[in-house]
């Protein structure tokens, strides 16, 4: 990979990642408490109608774009023993292990977004039919899946920022 495409991929990976993780933090640090208070005041309707659907759109597609640019970036790295960087990272091979942990965590989070979070949010928002009992269960599952992603985002961002860079020479060797 040429140095020019490396920085372009990195740039778009970071921009999309900020969109994704920024909205994840918005949901967990701001929206959960806001909806709880608004529901108690009987005013939660507009949040669910106007804010959440838009935020979820950029959230789930931001996750996809982040993963694609990250995978392309990894593919351009040389792995140990002549391996491709993508395979070496996901195989946790040698010096590619730290970024590999980040890649695995990001991948688990992406799967979490599209399965547990989005599939349950569709029931909560009324995009697919669901009984009140099913909606209550969907709320709990989506909430916990979102919290799992916040937890995983902390080591994911650690490994993304300390992966195959000059910093890794200092902290892993």
């Amino acid at each position: 990979m040429s140095p020019s495409s490396d920085w372009i991929l990195r740039w778009f990976h970071i921009m999309a990642g900020i969109m994704w993780i920024g909205l994840l933090y918005f949901f967990n640090f701001v929206n959960v408490a806001a909806v709880k208070e608004a529901t108690a005041a009987g005013e939660a309707g507009p949040i669910s109608k106007y804010v959440v659907p838009r935020a979820l759109l950029f959230f789930r597609w931001g996750a996809v774009v982040t993963w694609i640019f990250g995978a392309a970036l990894l593919g351009g790295y040389p792995g140990p023993n002549g391996m491709n960087g993508f395979a070496a990272a996901f195989g946790l091979q040698g010096t590619m292990a730290p970024i590999g942990f980040g890649a695995w965590l990001g991948t688990i989070m992406l799967i979490n977004v599209w399965t547990f979070i989005w599939q349950n949010q569709k029931k909560i928002l009324g995009y697919v039919p669901a009984t009140d009992e099913q909606k209550a269960k969907a709320r709990r599952v989506a909430f916990l899946a979102s919290r799992v992603n916040v937890m995983l985002s902390i080591p994911m961002l650690f490994f993304m920022s300390t992966g195959p860079t000059s910093i890794s020479q200092q902290i892993y060797h």
Binding site: L92, P98, F101, R147, M151, I154, F158
Partner: protein, 38 residues
């Protein structure tokens, strides 16, 4: 026992603990690879 993920700060602390565990494992893998000349 209460689920730490029900609390925002329980979630954040769990994330830092997980980071420490994974960092230790990553460091072992990298040290092993460097020792083997990879």
């Amino acid at each position: 026992m209460k689920n730490p993920l029900d609390s925002l700060w329980g979630t954040v602390i769990s994330g830092f603990i997980l980071t420490a565990i994974l960092y230790y494992i990553a460091r072992v893998i990298v040290s092993h690879a460097m020792g083997a000349g990879a």
